[in-house]
Amino acid sequence: MNSITKTQQETRKIFYWFKVTFVRLGVLPFLLVLAIAIFTFLSDNFLTGRNMMNVLRQSSYLMLVAMGQMFALLTGGFDLSVGTIVAITSVVGATVMASIYSVYPESVMLAISIGIIAGVAAGITIGFVNGLGVSIFNVNPFMMTLGMSSVGFGIALYMTGGTPVYGMPAEFSDIFGFGQLLSIPSPIWVCFLSIIVLTILANWTRTGRYFYAVGGNLKAAQLSGINTRKVLMFAYVISGAAAAVCGILLTARLDTGEANIGSNFPLESIAACVIAGVSLRGGAGRIENVVLGALFISLITNGMNLARIESYLQTVVIGSLLIIAVIADQVRLKVMANLQD
């Protein structure tokens, strides 16, 4: 009798501990561990150093876009134009780089840096216009960014005539596409730096706090003396900048400027954020979780490829996982409310 109550107590303790970790960390770490376990079982090549590095590199593109997306979501908006921003950055960056390189073949670094600056500037411009529409003209973020995504895509196609842009210096691709430092691929380094910068921005600066306040209650933020328009505007600029950095890295990897890349980013980046517990109504979300969310999506894709799951079926799995993750997050909120009382 005594021993039974003791084991009961212990299971209760473990259960309670489990609940607390679940509430603290969210559903994502559990899903990640589960996914790794399943894919390790399904494929011998999955849990190898090389493949893990591969997954990290692949996921760094999505991480960048998703982190930017988080700021738009924090303010209670969306950015559906991130795909277009990636594309236009790629096209503008590649065109500028190629033309400078063809005129001054010996100044390689100059061509690369001006190309990058031009590409990123083009991406940020789209973000700026989004912010202008949303904050000054009160256009619904959904419509504004959807509209801009069409505008930007059209411009990218018009500039290239639909064909890829060639003629960039080989060093560009060598450094930013395939380069390594301390045997870690360069996209991972860029992504890592961005994570640090954006984490500091979100958690340790006034502007960062204002994103949460504006998304939490726009009116209250206004009455507290915050320039809400500036904050909204800035959110879309950050989203544009992050997507633009991703666009440059992808261009380097592909070694061409493409108008057709990035069409999956709007959906995948929002999915990564939502899995990571970013509220679609604004005001809640954390960078480190979004990074894990993006990693999770890339990990699943990679694992299913290795396990030779048909690509059509893969989209079904990803969609279902997304929904399950959101349901699990709702459960988490309930458990949290109970624990707090």
Partner: protein, 530 residues
């Protein structure tokens, strides 16, 4: 589905003294109670919201539920209305043990509740909201005309001046309250639950409501009424059940209990008095408003002065412009004419940021919509207006440790309960949310504090603390403006008061002239002339 209605006609009925006597008789005769709650207990994981609650509602009785915020009144009425189920205990309806599984079932028995939180669909019309879920249909097709007609009938009977066809989203809080009340009247009633129904009604509408309550009482309907206002308890209450911390304290007769007694029962401690005595010391002018008009017509040619060391009250009906006046000074409404001088500087048309920097702090009336980011924690909410203070940030970066210390000290000063500043604001009770809102204005160097309805939905205990807080600000030499629909607040706290009427300044009253009579006279005078 055809909706049945209790047929009541509006007419002048003397205050229900007779009804009260009848109830005493009924109780004495041991008549079947309408509703009996026996040992109701409601437990949430880790917390007991209600413990062994007893409640008996007789036919034709107005039974007041009285208690501080968080005492369990709302949980109790939601178990009666079928929203929640008690963990233990029994509900007897007309002597029969009853289990209420849903609001729908409760409605079927004639138990209707008007909750504080509105449950209206903003995009639908008044009539559509009133009959939501009980629409008249012809072979599955909505009969709009019939619904509108019936809605009009109910609204007329209640004396609410609302157009059934108007959309709810364009109406104000007071109108929303009226629609909620009208909803409860759409079917046969045996028990009506009213949760602070007068919080956003004007006196005239309140009187109409009381008349109706009296009519229902004559019909033998039992009414459960939650209020924080003593005057209402005196006016319509028969018996009072006091709750504290989820426990049943006692049930007393309304006639035989004094205000002090009730307060002591409610708080469990003796409160000497609700309003503090403020030492006024009017000094130099802080705010001068001259001939102010707004583009939306909510203000017409208004001039007022506010001095250091005094509390100025602003009274008036809903929509009289009393709130708009200070909001325009804070830059929330567009000014068409006139000017606002603050500390000798012309600040007409300045926005909130600039006004805050000059020491003008406006505390909004609606915590949820304008005051606080409910999903963020207390710390972030408290320090939000002052993150640009030098000691809280260097350059763009926050000094989070300093921020934590500041938020903690303010929360301690205002006695936040529970004392956990990392908890989301939405998980606190109304009174404590109000404290977080008040803490915000202590983070800055402020010369003029404006409190717009500082005690809406706040219990008497917290209310006293808030009044003392405001008095202390004034005595420390700041200028204070209180905008309030609660007359005692204006009467007891301010040394000067302005009454607004339809966007115009109607009257200025000084010290001893600030009486209920003088204030009310200026609320209505012109309407009586018409």
């Amino acid at each position: 589905m055809v909706t049945q209605q209790a047929h009541i006609t509006v007419g002048d009925i003397p205050m229900a003294v007779n009804a009260r006597e009848e109830i005493n008789k009924l109780c004495a005769k041991d008549v079947q109670p309408l509703l009996e709650l026996k040992n109701i207990t409601k437990q949430y994981p880790g917390v007991t919201a209600l413990q062994d609650i007893q409640l008996t509602v007789m036919p034709g009785e107005v039974h007041i539920l009285f208690g501080e915020n968080g005492a369990g009144k709302s949980t109790l009425i939601s178990t009666i209305a079928g929203v929640q189920h008690p963990t233990e205990g029994q509900i007897l309806f007309k002597g029969e043990p009853t289990i209420l599984n849903s609001v729908h079932e409760a409605r079927g028995l004639g138990i209707s509740a008007v909750f504080q939180e509105f449950s209206l669909v903003p995009q639908l019309t008044v009539a559509q909201n009133i009959f939501l879920g009980a629409e008249d249909q012809n072979y599955g097709i909505l009969d709009h005309r019939e619904n509108n007609r019936k809605a009009k009938e109910i609204l007329d009977r209640l004396g609410f001046e609302l157009v059934p066809e108007s959309k709810v989203e364009y109406l104000g809080r007071a109108e929303h309250q009226m629609i909620e009340i009208a909803k409860a009247f759409r079917s046969d009633l045996s028990i009506l639950i009213l949760d602070e129904p007068t919080a956003s009604l004007t006196d005239r509408e309140t009187n109409r409501l009381f008349k109706l309550v009296n009519q229902l009482r004559e019909k033998g309907v039992g009414i459960i009424y939650i209020t924080h206002r003593m005057s209402e308890i005196k006016k319509i209450g028969d018996r009072i059940t006091v709750l504290r911390d989820g426990k049943y304290i006692t049930t007393v007769n309304a006639k035989e209990s004094s205000e002090d007694q009730l307060l002591t029962l409610m708080t469990g401690r003796v409160i000497d008095k609700v309003f503090p005595t403020v030492k006024f010391n009017p000094q130099g002018l802080v705010l001068e408003v001259r001939n102010l008009s707004t583009t939306d017509g909510s203000l017409k040619n208004v001039s007022i002065d506010v001095r250091e060391g005094e509390i100025v009250g602003l009274a008036g009906l809903v929509g009289s412009g009393k709130s708009e006046l200070l909001r325009s000074c804070f830059g929330l409404h567009n000014v068409s004419e006139g000017c606002v001088m603050f500390n000798g500087e012309n600040v007409t048309g300045f926005g909130p940021k600039k006004m805050l920097d000059r020491g003008f702090f406006y505390n909004p009336p609606d915590r949820k919509n304008e005051g606080l980011a409910m999903i963020r924690n207390c710390r972030e909410n408290i320090t939000l207006p002052s993150l640009d203070r030098e000691d809280l940030s260097s350059g763009p970066f926050l000094k989070r440790y300093k921020e934590l210390i500041l938020a903690k000290s303010l929360a301690t000063k205002l006695q936040l309960h529970p004392m956990n500043i990392e908890r989301e604001v939405e998980h606190f009770s109304g009174g404590n949310q109000q404290k977080v809102l008040l803490a915000k204005c202590l983070t800055r160097n402020v010369k003029l504090y404006v409190f717009d309805e500082p005690t809406v939905g706040v219990d008497v205990g917290t209310r006293t603390e808030i009044y003392q807080f405001i008095a202390a600000l004034c005595e420390a030499g700041a200028a204070v403006v209180i905008i309030s629909s609660d007359l005692p607040e204006i009467i007891h706290l301010s040394n000067r008061a302005y009454v607004m009427y339809r966007g115009e300044l109607k009257k200025e009253l000084h010290e001893n002239d600030i009486t209920e009579q003088n204030l009310l006279k200026n609320f209505f005078e012109r309407e009586e002339e018409q």
